[in-house]
């Protein structure tokens, strides 16, 4: 008699993922799949796939998916949620998508407190297009469009999205997590589950920012990339829950 302790969630398809070896996207996809299974919402989830590495996310989730224009995920999610209030709508976005071209959409979705869930993957670089500087690129970090490292005098400072959105009354749940070690993956799962529970309970705007490793565009091995997340990203982007008004 054998029992399965852990296996691929039922909400995910069997399609092998296209992400680079060691990338954090796959871990986040799995956590979301587990959440859909555990909350029993798999049949009413509608996802918004972004422009970026996760553009093929519709291949991996067994749910209906809309592929949005760059940065417009929260606006599309707003439309889907308002026309189908029973659906559980998530927008899956990267940092180049959400924090630069999509800045207006994310801020105003939070201002309106749209009852949607945002999964924000922060890897401090534009991944799919080949390693350009993102708004979240760290000071001194080398990118193809910042070959000498990001200089605040020239390119400004990185944006901390969770801290910024926490100022807005409409945002209800904001957490920053990482997927660099099993302990942080468990915490990330709790935050993602909470963000979807909030939507089921009509709490309002929920966002989980995930610090994710990008070994390819950081030009690092997988262990070096994990070390970069811990030693360079976490001081700039401290982990934690910045707002949790659903708990009151």
């Amino acid at each position: 008699m054998s029992t399965i302790i852990a296996q691929k969630p039922k909400s995910l398809t069997d399609v092998p993922m296209h992400y680079c070896p060691g990338c954090g996207h796959g871990i986040v996809h799995r956590l979301m799949g587990e959440t859909f299974d555990e909350l029993g919402i798999a049949d009413r989830v509608i996802g918004i796939a972004p422009v970026g590495c996760a553009v093929f996310a519709d291949d991996y989730f067994k749910c209906d998916t809309v592929q949005g224009a760059h940065g417009r995920g929260p606006a599309i999610a707003t439309g889907v949620k308002r026309s189908k209030p029973g659906a559980i709508v998530f927008s899956y976005q990267g940092d180049g998508d959400l924090a630069s071209i999509g800045m207006a959409e994310i801020v105003h979705a939070a201002v309106r407190s749209e009852n949607i869930t945002i999964i924000f993957i922060n890897n401090a670089i534009y991944g799919m297009t080949g390693g350009q500087m993102a708004p979240t690129t760290l000071v001194g970090q080398v990118a193809t469009t910042a070959p000498k490292g990001r200089d605040p005098k020239l390119q400004g400072w990185p944006i901390n999205m969770c801290e910024m959105l926490a100022q807005i009354t409409g945002s209800k749940f904001l957490a920053r997590v990482a997927v660099d070690c099993p302990q942080n993956v468990i915490k990330a799962k709790q935050a993602i589950k909470k963000a979807f529970e909030n939507q089921v309970n009509n709490v309002g705007f929920s966002m989980v920012e995930v610090l994710s490793q990008c070994p390819t565009n950081w030009h690092a091995s997988v262990p070096q990339a994990l070390e970069f997340v811990r030693t360079k990203m976490m001081p700039q982007y401290p982990l934690g829950i910045f707002k949790d008004e659903g708990a009151k």
């Binding site: 399965i4 302790i5 993922m17 060691g22 796959g26 871990i27 099993p182």
Partner: protein, 68 residues
């Protein structure tokens, strides 16, 4: 006895599972997969405690943990 199965068609040989295994049960395979990687494989199954940390860290969801 817990054991794990690695789906060699999904594994991209990032070896996150090899690094996090507290009992150091996993290691790179000597045979090449269809994708062109040397997938992770169980090398010391007698030490496996079924903690599923490899499953938690696997970005390609290639690992299934089974308890016999």
């Amino acid at each position: 006895m817990p054991r794990i199965e690695v789906d060699a068609t999904r594994c991209k040989a990032c070896y996150l599972c090899v690094d996090v295994c507290p009992k150091k049960c996993l290691g790179p395979s000597k045979s090449i997969s269809k994708k062109g990687y040397f997938p992770a494989e169980m090398q010391h199954s007698e030490n496996c405690i079924g903690c599923a940390m490899c499953y938690r860290m696997c970005p390609d969801i290639a690992i299934t943990v089974i308890k016999e």
